[in-house]
Every structure is written in C-alpha cells, then in structure tokens.
C-alpha cells in the first residue's frame, strides 16, 4: 500500500509534541494526523470553541460542517497555530501548533476563506514568494511552482497579474499556493464560496484528485452541504463551538434514524385495505398518509415484503422508495436539536 512507505519515512520525525500520533496495528494502518482534546477558545467573554475533541486520520477528507459563527474558522486558526487556545490540547502531525508553529506550517497548507494574492504581482510571482517564504531553493521553487500551476490549470496565465483573475481562478491559484510547499495536510476554509456550479465541480474534482495523487489529508470547512456530501469521507457537525456529531454520512444517518427506516409507498387501490395489508407485514410499525403516498415506518428491511404483499393481492404498485437521510436532513435535525 502506498501509505505504508509514507508512514515509515515519517515515523522518525513524529516524536515531538505532547500528543504523539498513535501508530495503530498493521491491520488498520491509520495514522492520526490531527488530534484535539477538550479544545476551548474564549474571546472577550465569547466562547467560540467549547470543549472540542476530534481526530483526523491520514488520507481522509473530513468535512467540518456548521453555520457561520459556529467556531469552524477559530478551530482552524488554532490548528494552524495562528491563535492560542484558552485550554485543551492540539496536535497536528505530531507537533504542538503553539510551541512548534514552524513545523506545523511547513507541512500544512491553509487556504483561508477570503483567499488573497498580491494583485499587482503575476500568478507566478505570487507563488514564487510563497516558495521563498517556505525556504525552497530557486531550482526547487521553479519546479514546484510550474507543477502547481499545471495541476490547477493556470499554466497559460502564469504571467498575468492576479488583479485580472476571476474569482474561480483566484481560488485555483489559492490551491496552487497551498500545493507549492508539498503539504501533508491541507485545510480549506469555505473554498467554494462565490463560485458558479461549474467552477465548484472543477474545484471539488481537483481536491479529490490531489488527495489521491499527493496522499493528502484534507480538512474542509463549509456550510455547502451538497458539496461536502460529494467529497467528504467523514463529517463533523459544528454548532455553537461544539462538535455535536461526527462520523461518516452513513453512520450519522443511522444514528439519526435510530434504526428506524422510512418508506414511501403508493399503490392502487389506496385505502383502508392497503393500510391493513401494510400493517400486517412484520416489522412495520406505522403507516401514515403523506400527500399522495403512504409513509411507512419499519424496523427492518421490508421492501421485498411490501412488494410481495401487494403483488399477491393483485394490486398495482406505483411507488416504493426508502428514504435515506441525506446530509441536509442530518444537518437540519442536529441544528434544530442544538
């Protein structure tokens, strides 16, 4: 597995920081890249982050979901070492961002919410500056900058001033900026804000491709649910400074559903006989009318049973669908509950 060589090379580096990454057994082969424990941040009486504990595994795309003002950006700033936590501990790639900020920043690329480049410099010059700040030699810088520009599709406009770029191009340049330093983790704060749907898709595809090719771990903060759903393997829901749920989308859906499934059934004839027939199926707990179809609550997989029951009686089945909880429902449920 490609991950194996990556971990063995880096294992000598990761002994510092008071939270050493736990190298798990060969069977799971997952390294924890970011870990926070009871992280708290208070500004002037406002508690922006309230006891946050989560882990980020290497190679995954983690979505930090939450409304504006939930504390996502503050958490990201603490991970980057740009702000000091009030209490709690953070470990990023084995380093403490407060004590060892340079090591963290060397390996973590950060794309802030309002990506900004120097408008009077060209795209290339901006990236060369970043390379210079990262201590790359001239030769290395040239190679990395060209690679980054190619990768995001801005090679033709490398010499144009950034002031002339559209918003989508700036976002891509921001990603190129992050790639120049060859990071192990990239943190993207609302990367798709203000982009048209085409550009959003391009950006998401780019993130996915990069994550595969460069063996990156991605932490994505957003409130755009569909986009998060598309690329994130795990999601954390952030509300008022607390992470109220985390896990993969399937896990969250199951948690929320509480083992209960909801199905939509539409059949003819539709009336009390249908209701009685449905209720007789083992596992069905409720049947309610919902507009033009019946909403059936069940504790187990009952679709084959419903289909069979209706067919046996010679009735016509028009619609049978199991409603899965999508991210939108999950989000709204948790958000309402908080």
């Amino acid at each position: 597995m490609a991950q194996a060589t990556v971990t063995s090379k880096r294992s000598t580096v990761e002994t510092q920081g008071h939270l050493a990454p736990r190298e798990q057994s060969a069977a799971s082969r997952e390294r924890i890249i970011v870990e926070t424990r009871d992280l708290v941040k208070r500004y002037e009486g406002v508690t922006a982050v309230d006891g946050l504990s989560f882990q980020l595994r290497e190679g995954e795309i983690f979505g930090l979901l939450g409304p504006n003002g939930a504390g996502k950006t503050t958490t990201i700033l603490m991970l980057m070492g740009l702000t000091e936590p009030t209490s709690g501990s953070v470990s990023v790639i084995g380093y403490d961002p407060v004590r060892q900020p340079l090591q963290v920043k060397r390996n973590v690329g950060y794309l802030p919410e309002h990506v900004a480049m120097y408008d009077d410099l060209s795209a290339q010059e901006n990236l060369y500056y970043t390379a210079d700040l990262n201590g790359l030699s001239k030769v290395e810088a040239k190679a990395r900058v060209h690679y980054a520009l190619e990768r995001v599709g801005l090679a033709e406009v490398a010499h144009k001033k950034v002031g002339t770029f559209s918003h989508g191009m700036r976002q891509r340049l921001g990603i190129a900026d992050v790639l120049v330093k060859k990071p192990r983790l990239i943190i993207l704060d609302e990367p798709t804000i203000g982009l048209d749907p085409e550009a959003v898709n391009q950006l998401l595809d780019l993130i996915l491709a990069m994550q595969k090719e460069e063996h990156l771990t991605v932490l994505l903060s957003s409130h755009q649910l569909q986009q998060v759903q598309r690329i994130c393997s795990r999601v954390g829901i952030f509300v008022k400074g607390r992470m109220i749920a985390q896990g993969s989308i399937e896990q969250l859906a199951e948690q929320l559903a509480g083992g209960k499934r909801t199905l939509e059934v539409a059949a003819q004839p539709s009336g009390s006989e249908l209701v009685a027939a449905l209720q007789s199926i083992p596992g069905v707990i409720s049947v309610e009318l919902a507009g033009d179809h019946w909403r059936v609550g069940a504790t187990e997989e009952v679709r084959p049973a419903i289909a069979r029951t209706i067919a046996e009686r010679g009735w016509s089945l028009y619609h049978l669908r199991q409603r899965d909880y999508g991210l939108e429902e999950i989000y709204l449920k948790y958000f309402q509950g908080a």
Binding site: Y43, L82, T83, P112, H114, V115, A116, Y118, Y129, L133
Partner: protein
C-alpha cells in the same frame, strides 16, 4: 532566518518598483537640485576666499529658497510616512496577512522585513540624491571636496537616514494600530504637523510663562529659561535633526545653545574637526536613534500580540 530575508527581498523589490517611490524620489531630487544649484550660484564669488566651500552648498540659502538640509527636514518625514503608512494595515485589508502568517516564518519577520526594506529604500534614495546633488555642485563650483568635507557629508547622510527612519517607525506603528490606511496616513501627517510646527510654539509659550520682569535683569535666569525652551523643543525630532545637521555641515558652529558673552571672549573662530562636531551633536543623534527604536518597539509589540481573528 525564519523568513526575514524573503519578506525583505520582496518588500524591497515592491518599493523600488513602485510609483510611490518614483514620485518621492523625483520630488526630493528636484528640491535638492534646485536648492543646491541656486546656492552654488550665490557662493560662486566666495569660492576663492572660503574654506569648506563644498559644505556651503548644502547650507546656503538664497532668497526664498531654503537650503538643502531644510528641504530634507521638511520632506524627509513625508518620505518616511508615505513609504510605511500602509505596511501592515494594507496587508490586512487586502487579506494577504493571514496568507503570509500561514507560511513557516517567524511572525516578527513580517514587521522586521518590511521596516528594514523601507529603511533600505530610504537610504538608497537619500544617498543617490546627495551624490547627484554633490556632483552638480562640483561641476558648478569646480571645487573638489576635501576628505573632512566628504566625511561630514557622510555623517550628514547617516543623520538624515536616522531622521527619516524615525518617521518610518512612527508610520509603521500607526499602520499596526489603525485598521484604515487612510486614517494611518492622516495620523502620520497630524503627528508631523504637531512635531514640526507646534512643538516650538509650545516651547516658546512655556518658556515665556517663566519670564518675569526680574528674569530680564539676571543673565543666569535668561540662560535657564532659554535652555528650558530648547529642551522642550527637543521633543521634536525636527529640532534634533536641525541641530545635528547644522553642527555637521557648518564646522564653525561650536555650540548649540545660548552662551554668555563672557564665555566667548578670546575665542578663536576656527572650524571644528569632525570628531569634535560629532561630540557636540552626539546627544541629538542618540535622541533620534532612541525615538526610532521606541516607535518601532511599540509597533513590534503590538503586532506580535494582536489576535489573528482580526487579520
């Protein structure tokens, strides 16, 4: 170096290629050229009789046109303010500051690099102007500077750089403390007006408050009041600069304050060697350096302790 050189290089390149720099450079160059040309014309006749003719170019005024060093004392602060008033808050407003701080550089490399780059730009500007102006003077007067005169011009340059450096530091402080670049520029100009024009008026007013009918009769009392007035006026870096440059560029100047006639009796009016002139103005030079250092220290501490959220 934790990113200091990278920031320094980029800021220096930005400054030297910017329109702002070119405007300031041309402005001061014209001011310098005109004052020196006119001064050269007026002392042309005295060339044969005087010593230190070369230095006279910088200190002679002709008619309404002030001498060269007065131009510098006037325009130097503007150069310092103009180059640095938006150094930190400009980055913040454009949003590039958080991008900078997300790179593996020490946080102070940003403010240090910017300040050093601006200081280098000022040094380059002043040095080239003084050299150009001296060349014009040499051509006009057909006089070659002696080594003492040359050393004095170099000392003058250093004092100029220190002086403008104070204004650079002040502008940097404003750019750290104030969010809006225009407000920072206005604050700088307000400070300049106050320190250049009002401090001497205030010094006069305070000194006058201590003058009574008795004071005029007692020479010691007059001396004390005058010295107090001078001390208050020295709050302004403009006063310090004027005193320092006057002593450097006019070797005949022996004192910087009032003296009694009894001290002057029997004095042979020879020009001072450079070492003695420097001894005379050492407090002023240290004062300028201290002002610059204190201003920069305030900017540094505030920048390092500001919360990133506001970035």
């Amino acid at each position: 170096m934790g990113g200091l050189f990278a920031v320094y290089r980029k800021e220096l390149a930005d400054h030297l290629g910017s329109r702002r720099f070119i405007i300031l450079f041309v402005l001061i160059l014209f001011a310098g050229l005109s004052s020196v040309y006119v001064a050269a014309q007026s002392i042309r006749d005295q060339v044969a009789n005087s010593r230190n003719v070369f230095l006279l170019m910088f200190t002679t005024s002709s008619g309404p046109l002030p001498p060269f060093f007065t131009f510098i004392s006037f325009l130097g602060p503007l150069v310092g303010l103009a180059l640095a008033f938006d150094s930190i808050n400009g980055e913040r407003n454009r949003g590039t500051l958080s991008r900078l701080l997300a790179q593996p550089i020490y946080r102070d490399a940003v403010v240090n690099g910017k300040f050093l780059a601006a200081l280098t730009t000022v040094a380059a500007m002043l040095t080239s102007i003084v050299v150009i102006v001296s060349a014009l003077g040499i051509v006009e007067l057909a006089v070659i500077p002696t080594s003492q005169e040359l050393l004095r011009v170099i000392a003058f340059l250093i004092v100029c750089i220190l002086y403008v450096g104070f204004w650079l530091a002040l502008a940097t402080t404003f750019s750290v403390l104030l969010r809006n670049t225009a407000t920072a520029a206005l604050a700088g100009i307000a400070a300049w007006i106050f320190l250049t024009f009002f401090v001497s008026m205030i010094a006069d007013a305070i000194a006058n408050a201590f003058v009574s009918a008795n004071t005029l009769l007692d020479p010691n009392a007059i001396l004390q009041v005058t010295q107090m007035r001078d001390m208050i006026a020295r709050i302004s870096p403009d006063t310090l600069f004027q005193e320092a440059t006057v002593a450097i560029l006019m070797p005949n100047i022996r004192t910087l304050g009032p003296i009694l006639i009894s001290q002057v009796v029997g004095l042979v009016p020879n020009p001072l060697p450079l070492s003695q002139s420097l001894l005379l103005i050492w407090p002023q030079v240290v004062g300028l350096l201290a002002l610059m250092a204190i201003c920069f220290a305030i900017a540094y501490v505030k920048f390092m302790t500001q919360e990133v959220r506001s970035l």
